[in-house]
Symmetry: D2
Subunit: 144 residues, 4 copies
């Protein structure tokens, strides 16, 4: 997780806890989604810019390993980087941890597909987006 740029931070909400006293595991998908959006803002190609450029993004896979537990008011940080980009799909690495005790909470991948904003059909990830990713990341994504 040390290699992932930190792109998003949050404090655990009361609503996010469950009767086991910890963050309900499904909420890490929401956290990963916000980390993804924050990454897009960080590379200066936000969700709004995606819409303006006439494409959209769909999630086709989420794969998360749960490593630890967080509770109400814990301060969490979230890392995210694009690991591979193919013609129309890209897979990113994600991790959530708690700096207070350096505990890893969840890590895994999310795979997005670029679709045409009108038809919804898969479309090539635009070169401007690829360049923004390369400019931002220390390690460039692999070509899939």
């Amino acid at each position: 997780m040390d290699e992932l740029p930190v792109v998003w931070e949050n404090r655990v909400r009361f609503e996010e806890t469950d009767m086991q006293g910890v963050v309900f595991y499904g909420n890490y998908v929401t956290f990963q989604d916000e980390a993804s959006s924050a990454y897009f803002r960080a590379i200066d190609y936000s969700y709004g810019a995606i819409a303006e450029a006439g494409w959209d993004i769909h999630v086709v896979n989420v794969d998360l390993d749960y490593r630890g537990q967080a509770t109400f008011e814990d301060e969490l940080v979230h890392g995210f980087r694009v690991a591979t980009i193919g013609e129309s799909s890209m897979t990113s690495e994600y991790a959530a941890w708690r700096p207070a005790d350096d505990e890893l909470l969840a890590e895994g991948t999310v795979t997005h597909v670029a679709v045409d904003g009108e038809t919804g059909d898969p479309t090539r990830v635009p070169d401007e987006f690829r360049e923004a990713v390369i400019d931002f990341q220390e390690r460039p994504p692999e070509q899939a």
Copy 2:
């Protein structure tokens, strides 16, 4: 609550509980919203029919009293009736309870405003909707 027609039922989800071991109180707003949608289906004027008829519905007030607590796997029922209809707004009564021990969990009101589907401006609640409400309810709504 005995006077309210039962329009929706659910079993409490694990995700809906919080670290106090009970349903997070904000979830009753979602329950009330589903009771509202179920009421619209029950009077045969569903959300889809609203859109087709060119109007839409916005919530302008929610007022809920919390009377009891429910936990994971509890089976709940929800009552709903339109209490008053004015020109463009209507206020409905809502209650949630648990039949297993007849405990009242939450009760209150929600106020909707009819808006034009295009402009978003308040518009008269259509007569067809008013008639559907009167046909369904034992007690007709008051005119506001």
Copy 3:
């Protein structure tokens, strides 16, 4: 809303939007709950301190007026102040707005009851808490 101390800020999550393209109204209850917790941290009597002191807090009423709409990535601020404190209950004022265009989104009240951490029975709001509220707020709460 100008009179309410700002205690919490957030950026609207994609998950918080609904098919009307705006924040689902039920989420403002979660926002109000986080504003409440942030207020408790601000007066240096956080939820953890409440538990340590042997009491707990239950919400008995929420009353929210919806004034405007927010969408994905909007930056919101939330004001909160305790308006009245009685023996075991207290009612607080809440408002959410968007500084970018100074639009008010939601405002209303939440009523909490102090309960004994063991028995769950209503208990007197501790004097330490009352003093912390008075120290923090420009306008002291009314006695109910």
Copy 4:
């Protein structure tokens, strides 16, 4: 998905949609969690029985492929079966689809670990649970 026993059904809530007009993909984790709980009830070894028998369940991995999209008021069904059981972990297959047009929406796996209710340490999945799974499923789980 035809081989998975249907254990849970739901109607999509308005709150579960997002600004793309479809169910936010993170909600399928909640659906899978409810399918899991429904499976436990179906084999007559519910979450309550797990707690009584002194163990608890933690999710250690979720892996979901998104195949289609659902929207407000769609009626969905959810299949679930335990695919493999090891000493303390078990992996289950999950799928969600919409019978109205027979469209597959999501499918994947969830991996649970049995932990001691007191210590939280991994513990052997009890034989009573294993037998309940074998009695319920047409195809018995593999031994991992």
